[in-house]
């Protein structure tokens, strides 16, 4: 698995350089201008876009055909991609966290909460997207994913605006359980993530390469 992750990091080397530059620029923005939004956004982008880029490069060169003749199992090939996502998430959020804490751009608790939400969102995004990519390929998945985000969002917004559903109940629930929310979020995201790994492995195991 180490070899596979290392290979992805080499594949992404040039893109990673650009991200480091962007990261540095947004860190400066966060410290000098108190603009933390973009720094948080880059955590999300690092942990979602980069692993998907790696998958797209693999697809273009049909890497999986040769990888599957090597002494690695299909399970390991999928797991390596999830590990890569987790590693990138961890590094980018730790770095962003340290910069925000050190610069005291907002209260420490708020910084941690922001990073936590970003991590949870990006893990959720990875979890939903990965099996779709394994099933349909990265090109089609971009469209599927955009639809998958836009349609429910537009639907819920439209319905709440038209008073078909009442979002205040959900907000009330979150307020009432504010202390428990992190635990609930972690549990939900972890469950979805594990399901996603299992699903991706099963899709990939039955794939003709």
């Amino acid at each position: 698995m180490k070899g596979l992750i290392l290979k992805d990091l080499f594949v992404l080397k040039d893109v990673l350089r650009i991200y480091i530059f962007i990261f540095a620029f947004y860190s400066w923005m966060a410290l000098a201008e108190n603009q933390t939004g973009l720094l948080l956004a880059i955590v999300f982008v690092c942990s979602t876009v980069l692993p998907i880029n790696a998958l797209a490069y693999d697809e273009r060169s049909r890497w999986d055909r040769v990888a599957n003749t090597m002494p690695v199992s299909r399970r390991e090939i999928v797991m390596a991609k999830y590990m890569l996502s987790l590693i990138l998430s961890a590094i980018s959020s730790v770095v962003a966290g340290i910069i925000m804490l050190a610069g005291k751009v907002m209260p420490a608790e708020e910084t941690l909460a922001n990073i936590f939400i970003m991590l949870a969102l990006s893990a959720l995004y990875q979890a939903v997207l990965m099996p779709i990519i394994y099933k349909f390929g990265s090109e089609k998945s971009r469209i599927i994913m955009m639809t998958a985000i836009l349609v429910p969002w537009l639907g819920i917004t439209a319905m709440s605006k038209l008073n078909f559903i009442d979002l205040s109940a959900a907000i009330d629930f979150m307020d009432a359980n504010a202390a428990k929310m992190p635990v609930i979020i972690v549990a939900v995201v972890a469950a979805v993530y594990v399901l996603s790994v299992i699903l991706s492995i099963n899709i990939y195991k039955n794939k003709d390469l």
Binding site: Y57, R62, R65, P71
Partner: protein
């Protein structure tokens, strides 16, 4: 004789094409050439053998076990060159050398670098800058650097100049000096296969036409040269494929079925394949 590769009754259906009961086997210590027109089953058979594609039915064994059931140690003993170089385009060979160390437990790092240098691959250039021949050299170097005992190569000599092709063929001959080692190689360059192969398997429209020792094949088949009227008198069960004009007829024939008195030349593998394929196109 112990088998390095054994394919039995392999079937796979695609909407436009099917592999139909493909069977052949390669004893350890030998080189087998896989020939046939484009898109007629060679790469699919290799894909199934390597476990990349699932068969509808049939069995494929490499050194006695199917690819899917092999342990990591056993998988290390299989060197593969596919019809295209499958390394992501943004890598260079120095990086490939670094991560392969962690994939193959017996990766021969120095040998890999030496081979890449010998093939004049630039260490800093990304795969995307490589020519087709350079990509092939990279794949071959990769396949040769982890102590493989079975080499499975799909069109490895495509895009290579004659000198390098010759070097690679010599390398294969050298490889099977060890009787435990075997090679399955598909190619369109029949002269390459004639040079090194002990066995030839011809796949045509998803079916095996023949799979036999090269020397035996050239004994079975012959090229008949005769006038059109002589040709008309021959029993047509002796004729596999013929092409004629007003001056006479040339035909691929079963040597033993042609009556004495006719001129029958030795057929080489290229003749055999060309006559079969032209028969299809007519």
């Amino acid at each position: 004789m112990e088998k390095a590769i054994e394919i039995k009754n392999l079937c796979k259906n695609y909407p436009s094409f099917r592999l139909d009961n493909v069977s052949f086997s390669l004893p350890k210590g030998y080189i087998m050439g896989l020939i046939g027109a484009n898109g007629r089953g060679k790469s699919t058979s290799i894909g199934i053998l390597l476990g990349l594609v699932k068969a509808d039915s049939g069995t494929c064994l490499i050194n006695g076990t199917p690819m899917a059931e092999k342990s990591k140690k056993e998988k290390e003993q299989i060197g593969v060159v596919l019809d295209e170089c499958n390394f992501p385009e943004t890598l260079n060979y120095v990086q490939i050398n670094k991560f392969m160390k962690h994939i193959y437990s017996n990766w021969e790092s120095e040998k890999f670098t030496a081979m890449c240098e010998k093939y004049h691959l630039p260490p800093k250039d990304k795969v995307m800058k490589y020519s087709k021949g350079m990509k092939m050299k990279l794949s071959i170097a990769t396949a040769m650097c982890h102590g493989a005992k079975v080499l499975i190569m799909d069109e490895p000599t495509g895009g290579l100049d004659p000198v390098v092709r010759d070097e690679i063929l010599d390398m294969l001959l050298d490889f099977v000096q060890d009787e435990e080692n075997s090679v399955l190689i598909s190619s369109h360059i029949i002269s390459d296969l004639e040079k090194v192969c002990d066995y030839i398997t011809f796949i045509r429209d998803g079916k095996v036409v023949f799979s036999d020792e090269k020397d035996v094949l050239t004994q079975y088949y012959g090229i008949l040269h005769c006038t059109n009227s002589e040709f008309d008198r021959i029993d047509k069960s002796a004729v596999i494929s013929a092409r004629g004009n007003s001056f006479g007829t040339d035909a691929l024939v079963w040597r033993d079925k042609v009556p004495e008195g006719y001129i029958v030349d030795k057929a080489n593998i290229e003749d055999i394949m060309l006559y079969y394929i032209k028969e299809d196109r007519q």
